[in-house]
């Protein structure tokens, strides 16, 4: 290394660790599942549309199959009838997988404190990022996605490859 840099000058050799390379790839192409439950899905759609354009963050398209998706955005209230479906969708996703709980209803059922709804989707699946708002604006969802990217950048291979 010393010889090369003394002969050729500073090449700006890329010294990314494997961690950084893997996490760069994961944050750069995190395809979400095409999945919406209630009014939050409307804001989710407008986040995908050209005004906010999630493609800028590598979320080029929503996969309709959980087998091809990396990110589950729970957009809306989760009824008790829907709970096993969400659990199955989550189980069908291939690791690595992440979950964003979008909005108050998915996070803790918000105003709907009743028997028909699951009081927070984290009762059935693990959640990485909670986004507040009823429904969250597209800005808030993008802020949540960026928070998830921050979290993914902090992951290490030693932790998940064991």
């Amino acid at each position: 290394m010393g010889v090369i840099s003394s002969k050729l000058g500073n090449l700006g050799i890329v010294t990314t660790t494997l961690d950084e390379a893997v996490n760069w790839g994961r944050t750069g192409a995190m395809w979400p599942l095409l999945f919406g439950l209630a009014c939050c899905a409307i804001e989710y759609m407008s986040t995908q549309a050209s005004n906010y354009d999630l493609s800028r963050f590598g979320m080029e398209l929503n996969r309709a199959s959980p087998r091809q998706a990396d990110l589950l955005i729970v957009a809306g209230r989760v009824s008790r009838k829907m709970a096993p479906v969400i659990r199955q969708l989550y189980d069908q996703m291939a690791a690595p997988k992440w979950v964003i709980s979008m909005g108050d209803c998915a996070s803790c059922s918000g105003v709907y404190n009743n028997y028909a709804l699951v009081q927070g989707v984290d009762e059935i699946i693990p959640v990485d990022v909670y986004v507040a708002g009823c429904p969250p604006r597209p800005e808030q969802l993008i802020h949540g996605i960026l928070a998830l990217h921050e979290k993914v950048r902090g992951e290490h291979i030693k932790e998940w490859a064991s």
């Binding site: 050209s50 005004n51 906010y52 354009d53 800028r56 108050d104 996070s107 803790c108 918000g110 105003v111 404190n113 984290d122 990485d128 990022v129 909670y130 986004v131 507040a132 708002g133 009823c134 969250p136 604006r137 597209p138 800005e139 808030q140 993008i142 802020h143 949540g144 960026l146 928070a147 979290k151």
Partner: protein
């Protein structure tokens, strides 16, 4: 001829400015009435406007607000009147940002601002305490608790003026 007209539309759109807001760097202007994160306001002398009456908690449809009041004294005064909010907590994951607390407040202490960055990796981080919600002390004001002359701040609710 129709082909040319069709392509003309395509070329017109090619030359248009992109409509995308580059969000984290460029923020789309919010409407003035947009309801974001709450702020607890202060008077100009630094006293807190909140008097701990819990009307906001009563008005809240999602039960997101928790207020605990304590007595003011002239040696340690937090707000005008008898009581102040010792604990003021809002769970941002329960709050639906309807603004009913703002409407219920008799002293206009709680106001929904324009702060929208509200994502959490942990459920506990979503509970905002009084320290996080309250505005900084204004220029020329004192921090609370203040030591004041007795008999000055006896009214919890300020004198109202008739609308002009």
């Amino acid at each position: 001829m129709n082909v040319i007209r069709g392509f003309a539309t395509t070329f017109k759109h090619l030359l248009e400015e992109p409509v995308t807001y580059q969000y984290p760097e460029q923020i789309r202007p919010f409407a003035e009435r947009y309801k974001g994160r709450h702020e607890l306001k202060r008077y100009d002398n630094g006293l807190e406007k909140c008097i701990g009456c819990s009307l906001c908690a009563a008005a809240c449809p999602a039960d997101a607000i928790w207020v605990e009041a304590a007595e003011n004294t002239d040696e340690a005064r937090y707000s005008p009147g008898e009581r102040y909010a010792k604990t003021y907590e809002i769970n941002m994951l329960r709050c639906i940002f309807c603004g009913y607390c703002e409407d219920a407040c008799p002293t206009e202490a709680i106001v929904l601002g324009h702060e929208h960055r509200l994502s959490f990796t942990n459920r506990k981080d979503a509970i905002f305490t009084k320290d996080m919600l309250i505005d900084p002390v204004p220029e020329g004001g004192q921090a609370t608790p203040q030591k004041v002359e007795p008999g000055v701040f006896t009214r919890a609710i300020p004198d109202m003026e008739d609308p002009k």
